[in-house]
């Protein structure tokens, strides 16, 4: 077959739509890869926290011949934890405000809300640290009994998630301040917001089933 005929059949078979620059490829869903990634990851994280929460619920009342010390539930200071839960809840609000302000290209506002969110998150972590050192002094160490191991592991995983979130928020603050992250990249802040809200809703569940439910 002549070259033109071959080229023609090739074109007829598969058209001549050119490829875009790799970094601007359109998506079938119309949704960005990054956002789909974050939601898929959050779906996965539900299984992680589901396993940890179930483990705690199944372990918290178990006793054996070597059991000693208080359980975590014996030592809860509900008023204190309520305050830190409230703080985390409000950090979700400030996170949303950070997202809406960058969507409106209000960069200074965005920086303010990012920093506020990170600060509220840090206050939450500080509260956890205070709470746990208090428990430790009252005889609830990591290895004291099975409920303590389960409690600290669950809340520890949550705390690590929050801390990573704080690191991301501060990083975003830096990038916005340096002008590297502009309003056209608002979705980045939105995606970090999704992670932050997830960490908050996990705490909503933990606060209810671990702390409040007797």
């Amino acid at each position: 077959m002549a070259d033109t005929a071959e080229a023609q059949t090739s074109e007829l078979a598969y058209g001549r739509t050119e490829w875009d620059d790799y970094h601007h490829l359109p998506t079938n869903t119309g949704l960005t890869n990054e956002k789909v990634t974050m939601w898929a990851f959050l779906g996965s994280d539900c299984l992680l926290f589901g396993a940890l929460i179930s483990t705690y619920l199944l372990c918290r009342n178990r006793v054996g011949p070597a059991t000693k010390g208080p359980t975590a539930a014996d030592l809860f200071d509900i008023p204190f934890t309520s305050v830190s839960s409230f703080v985390l809840l409000m950090s979700s609000l400030t996170m949303v405000l950070a997202v809406t302000s960058i969507q409106r290209a209000e960069m200074e506002r965005c920086k303010l809300w990012l920093l506020t969110t990170a600060s509220l998150g840090s206050i939450f972590i500080a509260g956890q640290v205070y709470e746990f050192t208090g428990f430790y002094r009252e005889g609830l160490g990591y290895t004291t009994n099975i409920s303590s191991s389960a409690f600290y592991t669950l809340t520890g995983f949550h705390g690590v998630h929050v801390s990573l979130g704080i690191v991301m928020l501060v990083t975003m603050w830096v990038l916005v301040t340096r002008g590297i992250l502009g309003p056209e990249r608002a979705e980045t802040i939105e995606i970090i917001g999704l992670y932050w809200h997830f960490v908050d809703i996990v705490w909503i569940v933990i606060f209810a089933v671990v702390y409040l439910i007797p």
Binding site: D20, H23, A51, E184
Partner: protein, 666 residues
């Protein structure tokens, strides 16, 4: 300067070009040599590496199996001590599951899925490379245990409290727990990458229900991984914390319930077995139609049954625990759900048989392996249904009857399917076919050896031979079938040696020019990967393929005439794309391998010295930093060896526009 999806420019010059702020963040540019492989982010190279490394672990796990069989060749065998035996069966299982079957499937998925959907690469190429290196380092880390005090010895399922410090005092189980966590992160990353790729990067016109079945099965598998890996992560973390930090999760004296481990492990473990088999189901759903010259019978049903298996697989896990003290209600419930899950699998078998029925069968090597999957998996599935009947399972469990079952489904099913895929897709990946005659020897020896090795295990199991015992006595009456089984295992070895010879010899002959170069479409295939040259060019497709049908490539070659008969209207090799375009591609990167290297350091530190973990953590943080800051592509980089005159601002349409699903053809 065009903004990229991923990261900001660090330094902009007045000319509008970008340059990294320090040389340290320049991206590698090697197009050949070992560095082209170590720093690649190309899904095809990554796919090949997944498979190559997996075949190395296959060799290791095979040797482990042969040692086991040697020990069991005679009663009161003296080849291995009980302790060595425990390590060997643990590592054989762990290696085969996590370091052979899963990465082989991942390798095929990485190579083929973007081609099958008409994409240029996966959604996150550097993340793809990270997954590969985490798998490699995780596997090495796990196997370091052999040299550092002994391998893990608690079985691949690692039941606690047996695997706690009291009963497994060495560090073998620590290598197991930490090594699997590293490998698990690799699979999780890969799963997200492939899900996003399949959802977002399909060619125009490729609706979900026009995707090839292999891609569909891979999609289901990625969801299974996405959702099941966190559960085993928790289980392994609880075990690690018990062992390293003295937690009490599996400390019975503290009131722990040992079944907690079993539930958490098998909630992962059962979806995991579908992770192991569905890719091979997908491969076979490709090869059977091609080599029967008939479309897959009931495409939608096959896809739907794959999805159904994915869903139902979550409801059956405790059938691995029938004799653990679940209680009659639990046993009955899981027995029922397990029987139900046979249905969608049976549907697939029927669809495959119906595909072949009346077809114009070509008994190529991939076809032979595919047919053997259908038959061998059916046998394995039948023994599986027998296990589902809980009272019967009370006798069968922990005997060789179970060993027979899972080897029939995993070797006779998953591995046979993967061999089919290797022979089928070898020309696409490497540009030549593996030798047919050697392939026949490979196939028959493996099929014969496999049945000889594992068929008798049904008998041994029903006679009461227990699993995981390093020896049996002469009074047991197990001598004959054990001897037969061991012979079968060594026949498999011969078959695999022939396979290795085939690979090496054919490659050498191809380089010497005595083995022909294969064209784009050597098998008269049905799917898009055959519409590009063999081996696949680095950029995959010259032009975006626009799709109008399932088996779109087939429909471009065969169309119905006035009487309704299918007529060949074009030759695949003529209408395939030529591979002569040179679009710009994302550059390789140092950071995936550097980041991956941090993980085994952290893990070693947790076993030996926390300072090492600190170093690993610093390495990780540095790599994340470097990854975020490196430029999107090296402006000087060539592609296919050519200079780059890429101007990103030209023809740059609205970057977030959605592709219309029903795009017009041509």
């Amino acid at each position: 300067m065009a903004m990229t999806e991923e990261r900001p420019e660090v330094l902009e010059l007045e000319s509008g070009e970008t340059t990294p702020s320090t040389g340290a963040f320049a991206r590698p540019t090697h197009a050949s040599g070992w560095r082209a492989w170590f720093f690649t982010i190309d899904h095809k190279k990554i796919g090949i590496m997944y498979c190559a490394v997996a075949m190395f672990w296959f060799l290791c796990a095979g040797i482990e199996a042969l040692l086991i069989r040697a020990q069991l060749f005679t009663p009161n065998g003296t080849v291995l001590s009980a302790d060595q035996y425990n390590q060997l069966f643990t590592m054989h299982g762990t290696t085969m599951v996590f370091l052979v079957i899963m990465p082989l499937a991942a390798g095929f998925a990485n190579y083929m899925v973007p081609l099958q959907i008409g994409a240029r690469d996966v959604a996150f190429p550097r993340l793809n490379a990270l997954g590969l290196w985490l798998f490699i380092f995780g596997g090495i880390f796990l196997n370091l245990s052999w040299f550092l005090g002994g391998g893990p010895d608690g079985g691949w399922f690692a039941y606690a409290p047996n695997t706690g410090v009291t009963y497994s005092p060495g560090s073998g189980m620590d290598f197991y727990a930490l090594g699997l966590q590293i490998a698990g992160i690799a699979s999780l990353i890969g799963s997200i990458n492939l899900i996003v790729t399949i959802l977002n990067f399909r060619a125009p016109g490729m609706a979900m229900l026009r995707m090839p079945v292999f891609t569909w099965m891979i999609l289901v598998v990625q969801f299974l991984l996405l959702l099941s890996l966190p559960v085993i992560t928790v289980a392994l973390v609880l075990l690690s914390f018990d062992r390293t930090f003295d937690a009490n999760f599996f400390n019975v004296a503290m009131g722990a319930d040992p079944l907690l481990w079993q539930h958490l492990f098998w909630i992962f473990g059962h979806p995991e077995v579908y992770v192991l088999i569905l890719p091979s189901f997908g491969i076979v759903s490709e090869t059977l139609p091609v080599f029967s010259r008939k479309p897959l019978f009931g495409y939608s049903i096959v896809v739907l049954s794959g999805i159904a298996i994915g869903f139902m697989g979550w409801g059956v896990w405790a059938h691995h625990m029938f004799v653990s003290g679940l209680g009659p209600v639990g046993v009955a419930a899981f027995s029922a759900t397990t029987m139900f899950i046979a249905v969608p699998t049976g549907v697939k078998i029927l669809n495959w048989i119906a595909t072949m029925w009346g077809g114009n069968i070509r008994f190529t090597i991939p076809m032979m392996f595919s047919i053997s999957l259908v038959s061998m998996f059916t046998i394995g599935g039948l023994s599986g249904v027998m296990h589902a009947i809980a009272p019967a399972d009370t006798q069968q469990t922990d005997t060789y009857f179970i060993v027979a079952h899972f080897h029939y489904v995993l070797f006779g099913g998953a591995l046979m399917g993967l061999f089919a895929g290797m022979y089928y897709w070898w020309p696409k990946a490497f540009g030549y076919r593996l030798n047919e005659a050697l392939g026949k020897w490979h196939f028959w020896l493996v099929l014969l050896g496999f049945n000889t090795a594992f068929g008798p295990m049904h008998i041994l199991g029903l006679q009461g031979m227990a699993r995981r015992h390093s020896r049996y006595g002469p009074e047991d009456g197990f001598d004959f079938w054990n001897a037969v089984s061991t012979i079968g295992a060594f026949v498999i070895l011969i078959g695999m040696i022939i396979f290795a010879v085939n690979i090496i010899r054919t490659w050498l002959r191809y380089k010497a020019g005595t083995v022909p170069q294969e064209p784009a479409d050597p098998w008269d295939g049905r799917t898009l990967e055959w519409a590009i040259p063999s081996p696949a060019p680095e950029h995959n497709f010259d032009y975006v393929p626009v799709v109008t049908d399932v088996d779109d490539f087939w429909h471009k070659k065969y169309q119905a005439d006035e009487t309704g008969k299918l007529r060949k209207v074009a030759n695949g090799n003529d209408i395939a794309q030529k591979g002569d375009q040179h679009p710009h591609l994302p550059s390789p990167s140092y950071w995936p391998i550097v980041l991956a290297a941090g993980f085994p350091l952290i893990a070693l530190g947790l076993i030996y010295n926390l300072w090492l973990s600190g170093i690993g953590l610093l390495l990780m943080l540095g790599a994340i930093f470097g990854w975020s800051l490196e430029p999107p592509t090296d402006p000087e980089a060539g592609h296919d060896g050519q200079g780059d005159d890429h101007h990103p601002d030209e023809n740059d349409p609205n970057s977030d526009s959605a592709i219309v699903e029903e795009a017009p053809v041509g």
